[in-house]
Symmetry: C2
Subunit: 349 residues, 2 copies
C-alpha cells in the first residue's frame, strides 16, 4: 500500500506500541459502554434493555482471498456480518470485540489498513470497539468478532415465531454478493495468466460492492416500526435464501412456499449470471453473503408491506407437513435444499 515508505515490522513496535496504534483513535459513542479497551475486560451497563450477543470467525482462503479483497474492505465486512446478526434479532448493535491472528508477513501498515475498515464500520453503525486480541498465526489471517446489541423485550424477534399463513418477506435483492465473487474470481484468474491485463469490472459496480462492502440492514427495524409492523420471525441471509428459509421454518416448526418469480434479483446479478451462463436463482438460493433480512409478518400486513419498495413478499408460511418448497414459474413444487452446503463453511450457532 505504501510504495515510498518501507513497511514497519510489528516486532519494532513492542507490546504497548501495537495496541496503542490500533486503539488510540477510539472514541466511545454509547452510554452502555462504561469502559472500553485497556483492562482485563471491558465494562458495560444495560440496566433496562435485553442484550444480544453473536460471534463470527472468518479465515483466509475460506471466507476471503487477499489476492483481490482489500484489507480495509475486509475489516469493514467482518464487522458488518456480525452486526447483521444483531439486526436480525430486531436489536441495535452497540459494542464489538475484534480478535485477529496474523502471520509474520503482515506489516504494521497492513494491520492498520484492516483496522481502518473496522473503525469505519464502527463509525457508520454507531458501535464501540471495546476489546480484542492480536496474535500470531503460522499461516493466514483469521478474524473473530463478537457483537453485542440491545433491544427492548417486546422488540426482540426470534427465528421461531413464524405462524401458518404469515407472509415471507425479504429486504433488498439477493444473489448479488455471490455474482460479485464470481466476477472477482474470474478477473483474478485472468490476472494470474496476464498481470498486465486490466480487470474488466465496468457495469458491475453494484455486485462488486455487494461482495466487497456489504451493509447490514439497520434501516429495516426503523422502517417496520414506522409501519407499525413487528415481524413474527426473522433471520439474516448469510448462507443463501434456501438455507435461511430452512432455518426459520425449522425453528418455527412450519413449512413455506417461496415463489421463484418473486425472488428479487438486481439487473447486474441477472446480467452477469447470463454472461457466465448460470441461473441467477442459484446465486440467490445458495450463494450467500447478501446480508439481507428474511422475515415473516402476519397476513393482515399485506397491503402495507406490498407498497414498500425495498421489501418483497416472496411467499408464505404453510403447515410443517406441507414442507419447505420453491414454486417455479412453471408451477412445479421443488423442496428447498441447502444445496452445496459445506458443513464447515459457516456453522454459526
Amino acid at each position: 500500500m505504501q510504495e515510498t515508505k518501507k513497511p514497519t515490522l510489528l516486532s519494532e513496535l513492542g507490546e504497548f506500541g501495537l495496541i496503542n496504534r490500533l486503539t488510540e483513535k477510539i472514541k466511545l459513542k454509547n452510554t452502555s459502554t462504561l469502559k472500553g479497551v485497556g483492562d482485563d475486560a471491558a465494562v458495560l451497563y444495560y440496566p433496562e434493555k435485553k442484550i444480544v450477543v453473536t460471534t463470527d470467525l472468518l479465515t483466509e482462503g475460506i471466507h476471503f482471498n487477499l489476492m483481490y479483497v482489500p484489507l480495509k474492505h475486509l475489516g469493514y465486512k467482518a464487522v458488518v456480518v456480525n452486526l447483521s446478526d444483531v439486526y436480525a434479532m430486531n436489536a441495535t448493535p452497540r459494542q464489538i470485540t475484534v480478535s485477529i491472528a496474523i502471520s509474520s508477513k503482515f506489516s504494521l501498515e497492513a494491520v492498520e489498513e484492516l483496522y481502518s475498515g473496522i473503525h469505519l464500520a464502527c463509525e457508520k453503525y454507531g458501535v464501540d470497539l471495546i476489546g480484542g486480541d492480536t496474535t500470531s498465526s503460522l499461516t493466514g489471517l483469521t478474524i473473530s468478532i463478537t457483537a453485542i446489541g440491545e433491544a427492548n423485550e417486546n422488540e426482540l424477534v426470534y427465528r421461531s415465531g413464524a405462524q401458518v399463513n404469515d407472509l415471507l418477506c425479504v429486504s433488498g435483492d439477493l444473489g448479488g454478493a455471490y455474482m460479485g465473487l464470481q466476477l472477482l474470481e474470474r478477473e483474478n484468474q485472468v490476472f494470474k495468466v496476464n498481470p498486465n491485463q486490466k480487470p474488466q469490472f465496468e457495469g458491475y459496480d453494484y455486485i462488486l460492492e455487494r461482495q466487497l462492502k456489504p451493509e447490514a440492514r439497520a434501516d429495516i427495524k426503523a422502517l417496520l416500526k414506522t409501519l407499525n409492523i413487528k415481524p413474527t420471525a426473522m433471520i439474516d441471509i448469510s448462507d443463501g435464501l434456501s438455507s435461511e428459509a430452512l432455518h426459520l421454518c425449522n425453528a418455527s416448526k412450519v413449512g413455506c412456499s417461496i415463489y421463484e418469480e418473486k425472488i428479487p434479483l438486481d439487473k447486474q446479478t441477472k446480467d452477469f449470471a447470463e454472461e457466465l451462463n448460470i441461473n441467477p436463482l442459484v446465486a440467490a438460493l445458495n450463494g450467500g453473503e447478501d446480508y439481507e433480512l428474511l422475515f415473516t409478518v402476519p397476513l393482515a400486513s399485506f397491503d402495507v408491506i406490498k407498497k414498500e419498495f425495498d421489501i418483497t413478499i416472496i411467499g408464505h408460511i404453510t403447515a410443517e407437513s406441507e414442507g419447505t418448497n420453491l414454486i417455479t414459474s412453471g408451477g412445479s413444487v421443488i423442496p428447498l435444499q441447502a444445496q452445496g452446503w459445506n458443513p464447515l463453511m459457516n456453522s454459526e450457532y
Copy 2:
C-alpha cells in the same frame, strides 16, 4: 482416540447435525441467560449488575502444539484463560461464546473431544455456552472465546487503581506453567527421536497440570471478600509477572519494587529448572500462562494478608518516578522488562 471405530467425517453430518452434536447437551445455568444457542444471537439480561466482556484467540503452533496437548485439555484451557480475565476484574463469569476454525483433517470425534473440555470448564465455573461459530481453516486449529461476566459496581477492580505504598500481592505460585511446557517440549523431542521411549513425567505432575489444565482463580474474589479487603488494582498473570506488573503500574501511573526472594515458586518448578540448568525466576517473570492474580491492597491490610497461605506479598507500589524494579536477593535494583516479548504472541487489549 477411537481405535475400533472409524472416525466420522464432518461432511457426513450436514449442517444441523454438527451444531446439534456440539450443543445438544447444554443446560443453561444462569438466570442472566435468557436464550442460548439456536438463533442469530443469544439474549442476556443484566438489570442490576455491571457486565464485563473479554476475548482471547488461540492459534495452533503459536499457543499450543497438538503433538502433546490433548484436545480435551485444550478446550478446557481455552475457556479458563478467558475466565481468568473476568476474575481479574473481580467479577464472576456467566457466559461464553466459542468459535473454532478447523482443518479438514479433524474428525467429528476430535471436535467433540475439544468441546468436552469446553463443556467441562463451563460446568466447573458455572458458565453458559451461549453461541459460537464452527468454520474451516486451510491449516491448523484456531479457537476464539469471548467471556461475559457480572459484578456489582462497587466490586469492580481495574488495573489503574494502585496507590503509592500499596502492597503488591500474588495468588498461588509462578513459573510452573512455563516449566511444564519445557518438560512437554523435552519429552516431545525425545519422542521424535524414539517413539518407543516412554515419556519421563514422574515427579512433575504439578507443573504438567499447570501447563495442560490451568485453573482460573475463582476463589480469590470470595477470599478477599471474607477478609473484607478490596484490591485497589488487579490483573491476571498470563504473560509473566514482569509484563503484568508493568501493565498494572503503567495503568496506575505508579512504580513498584518486587523482591526476588518473595516470588512464590513451587518445588517442582525449582527442581525442573535446576534439572534444565535455568533460573526458575525467569520462568516466573517471563514465562507466562500461570493465570494467577496480581493485585494491590492498602498497606493497612498487611497483617491480614500475610496470614493467607495462598497469597504472597511480593513487593510494594512506589512513585512512578522510582520506576518498576526487581530487587535481587543481593540488593541490586534491576528494572523490570517484558523480556523476550513477542508483539504478536499475546496482545490482548
